[in-house]
């Protein structure tokens, strides 16, 4: 699948934003975060800016951007439509949560939990868009939803840790960051292990129905140059670098942030802030690389008609 930059930026940025929003909505009402309005302003602004930038970016890959509002209509059948509805609906409790916290000095439990619920629901809908696509077996499996949720939580908690280090470290939350990173890494490794070992869903034989006559090989393509199908669904540039990119994603996105998350324990203050900043940036870059791979490694069934043997 073609890794469209607008979609990868969208899922990475809004994933981090929703992860951060969910953590703020759950932790703040229970007094686990500083009640300082300035902390609330910075943390919520960071979450909402990431979410909004991601959502706007997602519109850049549309062919008819001015009709984007129509995407809210088919929530009964379409996960993309549900994602849009959930994304917009989440702004309401998130906005009320922010107004209460920043301007009125009250951290509302109801608004916080509703905002967190909306954030989780939106990321869930995003992941279900991919999870529901049968023609892409590397997406149509049970690892995809937990991966999206865990990676959103991980990138969210890395940014939360940064804001916390600046405004008021909470030592009792120190253990949470490496725990979430470890969980996300375990799920990512599980996903890679699964897609590497999964049996073929479809073959050139089943795609053409000619498998019973013997091995099916493409003799002549229907067209001489690449068409939309090959550009969009037949993308294969990154696959030869997949192993190296996976190592880069593991080291940058998970390994280094994991190590850096222990800096506040041994060296609070300035070094802890620098470490948290580096961890948040590296973690986000790692998720970006991982998301790029998620697309580039995914084979679409239509490639079976163009010389592919299995998906």
């Amino acid at each position: 699948m073609h890794p469209s930059l607008s979609v990868i930026f969208f899922t990475t940025a809004s994933g981090a934003g929703y992860g951060l929003l969910a953590l703020l909505g759950v932790l703040a009402p229970f007094g686990l975060l500083p009640a300082d309005p300035l902390f609330g302003l910075v943390a919520l602004a960071l979450a909402l800016v990431a979410i909004t930038a991601g959502l706007l970016s997602s519109m850049f890959h549309l062919g008819q951007k001015q009709r984007a509002w129509r995407a809210f209509s088919q929530w009964r059948s379409s996960w993309l439509s549900r994602e849009g509805v959930a994304a917009v609906a989440t702004y309401l409790p998130a906005g009320l949560f922010g107004i209460g916290w920043v301007f009125l000095g009250t951290v509302s439990k109801a608004a916080g939990l509703l905002a967190a619920l909306g954030a989780v629901a939106t990321v869930y809908c995003t992941s279900m868009i991919y999870r529901s696509l049968k023609p892409v077996p590397r997406w149509h499996n049970r690892w995809v939803v937990p991966n999206y949720l865990a990676l959103a939580l991980m990138s969210g908690i890395l940014w939360l840790a940064l804001v916390l280090q600046v405004f008021g470290p909470r030592p009792e939350l120190n253990g949470l960051v490496p725990a979430v990173i470890a969980l996300a890494l375990a799920l990512k490794l599980g996903y890679w292990r699964f897609i590497d070992g999964a049996p073929a869903t479809s073959t050139a034989g089943s795609a053409t129905g000619l498998g019973s006559f013997g091995a099916v090989r493409l003799f002549e393509a229907p067209h001489t140059s690449e068409n939309y199908l090959l550009k969009e669904m037949g993308f294969s540039i990154a696959r030869k670098h997949a192993a190296r990119l996976r190592r880069i994603a593991v080291v940058l996105g998970f390994g280094l942030p994991f190590v850096l998350s222990f800096v506040p324990v041994v060296a609070p203050g300035g070094p802890a802030i620098a470490a948290a900043l580096l961890a948040a940036v590296l973690g986000t870059v790692g998720v970006f690389v991982e998301r790029w791979l998620f697309f580039a490694e995914a084979k679409h069934a239509v490639t079976l008609y163009y010389g592919g043997s299995v998906v």
Binding site: G63, F219, E220, A301
Partner: protein, 248 residues
């Protein structure tokens, strides 16, 4: 509405494509392009049609495969277009209601005035039936020539999709696959027509007929089992010696 129609008619219009007969001439693809670039989905945009890498929207593509090895190997020409599935995920994933399946005859269409060009429907189709029009910013697909098959200004025999009308080998058939007594349904039953990628669960309406068994014995074609040598046997003696010498 991108939910699938409930209480839909039993009618399921579609195509039956005979892989035994198709000669791979691409006439179906060309006539499809010709008709539909002036039809409801017009134009079927071409990008750089005379450039080094021409690209464009086609509803019908003809692939050619080699199948099997040795004496049982064969060349199979394989036209590929929308299968108008009974369970079309391309319809249900659509966020805007642009993609829909008609209740009355099962034809899957795109309302281009509602399409936002998110391309998700093309991701949801395992058969590559949908092609995005970069120029118009919307998705396009086979309409089963809905502007021909119900066109009362045409003679009845012409009320078939352009690909069917033009096929010089009669490898393509159009009809109601929801009616077990229709000519196309009987053809499918008789020739053991099959679904493409049945494992995906899309329940395609269009069916493909398999190549018939290869005729490997000379007797099947009426030719004599062994041909007489075209050249006389090599001469012996002096002339033979000269022939061998000069042939070295």
């Amino acid at each position: 509405m991108t939910s699938l129609p409930t209480g839909a008619s039993r009618k399921r219009l579609g195509l039956v494509i005979d892989l035994d007969i198709c000669v791979g001439c691409h006439a179906c693809a060309v006539n499809c392009k010709e008709w539909n670039t002036g039809g409801v989905a017009a134009p079927l945009t071409d990008l750089a049609p005379y450039g080094a890498d021409p690209d464009g929207v086609w509803f019908n593509r003809v692939h050619t495969y080699e199948v099997g090895e040795g004496v049982t190997g064969r060349t199979v020409h394989f036209p590929r277009s929308c299968l108008h599935c009974a369970q079309p995920a391309c319809v249900t994933v659509c966020p805007t209601g642009a993609s829909f399946k008609r209740a009355e005859d099962g034809i899957v269409l795109v309302n281009e005035d509602l399409c936002i060009g998110c391309k998700l429907c093309s991701w949801a189709c395992p058969y590559g039936a949908r092609e995005f029009d970069e120029d118009a910013g919307v998705m396009k697909k086979c309409t089963l020539c809905i502007d021909r098959i119900y066109n009362e200004t045409f003679d009845p025999e012409d009320r078939v999709p352009a690909c069917v009308a033009t096929c010089p080998a009669s490898a393509r058939h159009f009809g109601d696959l929801g009616d077990p007594d229709s000519a196309v349904s009987r053809l499918v039953a008789e020739r053991e027509g099959f679904d493409l990628m049945a494992e995906m669960g899309y329940a395609p309406t269009n069916k493909y007929l398999p190549p018939r068994p290869r005729r490997q014995d000379a007797g099947c074609t009426g030719a004599s089992a062994r041909l007489a040598p075209a050249a006389p046997a090599a001469p012996g003696g002096l002339l033979g010696w000269l022939d061998r010498l000069l042939s070295q």
